[in-house]
């Protein structure tokens, strides 16, 4: 038996359909813009990653796995033997280790900083927070340039170390991995402090007090009470630092001086001098996959924390 819609129900359904149509219509301009400037181009990159490279730049419209193959493997031009692409693996390793170190150092510095701000009297907190926000909104290039001046051979870091008698002549920091690491910590530190602060601001200090009343030591209070309570902030801050670190382009380019490349710089190279667009596209997709994995880890972690309440 066919369902005959009652007039009321069909009216309701029509109203709902109209509302859905209205919502989609309102979202259309934004979607069109993003399709042109974000999602569409991303699909094209994926397509390029499975095409063959043209001789100078661009692609030949022929299906090829060469781009993806070259991400990790290397084929000798003379005897066609296949080996691992050591240069690429070194760059992946550098990207991963610098990003992890950046996250760890930023956490080590950012956790106490956020705690310090959260334990100020409420009126002062806004000011301290403002002080963290200013560098955060300052142009990334300016901040990278600022740190470049600090670590260069005649910069203040070397001058101070020499004045303190710790070293006799300037140590070469600029254009090394250390410079990139210092720069990344400097640039991304606010991204660690802000979510940590948001978590700590809501910290219930009665629980801390209860722990002390039960004779917990300072260390135990920190590791067993405070850290578990602000864990969502720790996870959020770490992800917010790790993801942009992994895809960092400006900081390694300026402070690494061209030879200490990270994934982003390798991608640029393939679209420039390397003249291998499919490889560059495959590398881009690889970077994107790593970022998505990190995000997935974050989402799973967050939902687990929420379920536990």
């Amino acid at each position: 038996m066919a369902m005959v819609p009652t007039p009321a129900r069909s009216g309701e359904a029509a109203a709902r359909a109209a509302r859905v149509r209205r919502n989609w219509l309102l979202a259309t301009p934004a979607l069109a813009l993003l399709l042109l400037a974000a999602s569409g181009p991303l699909l094209v990159v994926f397509v390029y990653s499975v095409l063959a490279p043209a001789e100078y730049s661009g692609v030949v419209w022929k299906l090829s796995g060469e781009g993806w193959f070259k991400v990790v493997f290397h084929r000798d031009i003379f005897d066609e033997t296949i080996g691992l692409a050591d240069a690429h693996l070194t760059i992946f390793w550098r990207s991963a280790s610098i990003s992890l170190l950046t996250t760890a150092i930023a956490l080590f510095l950012g956790f106490p900083t956020a705690y310090f701000i959260a334990t100020r009297p409420p009126r002062q907190r806004t000011l301290w927070l403002f002080l963290v926000t200013i560098p955060f909104w300052t142009n990334l290039l300016i901040r990278t340039f600022a740190i470049m001046e600090v670590v260069r051979n005649q910069g203040i870091l070397n001058s101070w170390l020499m004045a303190a008698g710790l070293i006799d002549e300037p140590i070469q920091i600029l254009y090394t991995d250390t410079a990139v690491l210092i720069g990344m910590v400097y640039v991304y530190l606010p991204l660690m402090v802000l979510p940590l602060y948001a978590a700590m601001e809501r910290l219930d200090f009665r629980l801390v007090e209860a722990a002390y009343d039960l004779y917990a030591s300072r260390w135990r209070v920190l590791t067993r009470v405070i850290v578990p309570l602000v864990k969502p902030g720790i996870v959020a801050g770490s992800i917010l630092v790790f993801i942009p670190s992994l895809g960092a382009y400006v900081t390694p380019r300026v402070l690494g001086g061209g030879k200490n490349m990270m994934i982003s710089n390798l991608i640029e190279l393939q679209f420039g001098e390397g003249r291998n667009w499919p490889l560059g596209a495959a590398l881009s997709m690889t970077l994107l996959a790593f970022v998505m994995l990190a995000l997935l880890f974050y989402v799973r972690n967050m939902s687990r924390i929420e379920r536990r309440g």
Partner: protein
Amino acid sequence: MADVAPPLRTTGRRFSVRRVPGFAAIAAVSFALLYAPIVTLVAYSFNAGDSIALWEGFSLRWFAAAWGNEMVQEATVRSLVVAACASALATAVATMAALGTTRTAPFPGALAIYALINQPLMVPEIVTAVALLIVFAMIKIATGYSGLGFLIVAHAGFCVPFAYLPIRARLEGMDLSYEIAAADLYATPWQTFRRITLPLMSPGIVAGSMLAFVISLDDVVITEFVKSAGQDTLPTYMLGQLRRAVTPEVNAISTALLAVTVLLLSAFFVLNRQRR
């Protein structure tokens, strides 16, 4: 003898449950790290000498040099034009999208719309940059047009989530009763929107457009890949300069940009506080 309770913690400083030893010191290191480089950078923009390492007295000559540099002038104007157009475009589409995706029952595709809008936040900038390089190169060849439009569209794209999120937050926190009252008083949907909804959501729109403007002004990576020859914005011009011998002129430009950022941020904070 009866058991004696352990003595109360009476160390030198008054005991506070909130204090963790060493944290204040690490916080001091963090703030020093955050500010020492910026302070140095600003200080050397007032250097009389040619060096960014040797102090030779106070002077404004590098500000004058930057001000008189035609390349800098052009790049500044270009940066402002792109940021203004891109943030206006992004804010307009984000406002509409926010109206369509908030205060409504879940509808088919709502999650997809949300994911698409936030895509620029998740995809690394370099990936978007090479993607746009490929696609815009095709369009440039096909149409022969290579103007600022490409930069504006590219910037508007990654500015959308930054404009969308504050507007959405504002809409979600808004009281529906005014709009219901307006409808009860026979206002047409358009009148209700124009007279009630729009004024109520305007703080969100202002915040969103300001964010979008700053984000656009800051961008280096995507601009570097999308720009045609002779389309340097201020950040890409500076990036180019860093490869050469750096004079305090770059410091002077940075200091000026920094001043603009601090001013905008202060205005933002003050506005926010007044509203509350």
